[in-house]
């Protein structure tokens, strides 16, 4: 899956990789981040 030029929904998790970290990563890959969230599953 090529991220360049895509619009990304970054759904992170508190006990995994958080949303903002995903967003930073995919931006550097050329994607536009349209939603960032860090979910908390308990």
């Amino acid at each position: 899956m090529k991220l360049d030029g895509k619009k990304v929904i970054a759904l992170g998790e508190r006990d995994g990789v958080p949303g903002p970290a995903i967003a930073e990563c995919v931006r550097s890959a050329g994607a536009e981040v349209v939603f960032v969230e860090t979910e908390c599953f308990v």
């Binding site: 899956m1 090529k2 991220l3 360049d4 030029g5 895509k6 619009k7 990304v8 929904i9 970054a10 759904l11 992170g12 998790e13 006990d15 995994g16 990789v17 958080p18 949303g19 970290a21 995903i22 930073e24 990563c25 995919v26 550097s28 890959a29 050329g30 994607a31 349209v34 939603f35 969230e37 860090t38 979910e39 599953f41």
Partner: protein, 105 residues
Amino acid sequence: MDPENQDRIVGLVDQYGADDLVVVLGAADLESLEVAAETVTMGDPAYVGPLAGVQLGLPVVHILEEDIKGQVDAGVYDEQVGLLEMTLDVEQVREAARTFPGREG
């Protein structure tokens, strides 16, 4: 998945269309991963949110997958995910990602 987030995702699909959207997950827990991947492809498995019975069919990837890591600037990846990559069970996540709905093979 939180019904509020499902609602936001429905709104994004309405706004941008499903073709250009990609969902990138970060969860390390296998059950959470399965639920999140299923929700944005087949619909909310718990049948409580706006995506209950709604098959968006969005592509789903995980930030820890090799293919995704390879597209990210190495310095940024190291800074944002490097430490987590050492503590999380990366292989387990990659294995789970191979079975996300919509994957072939």
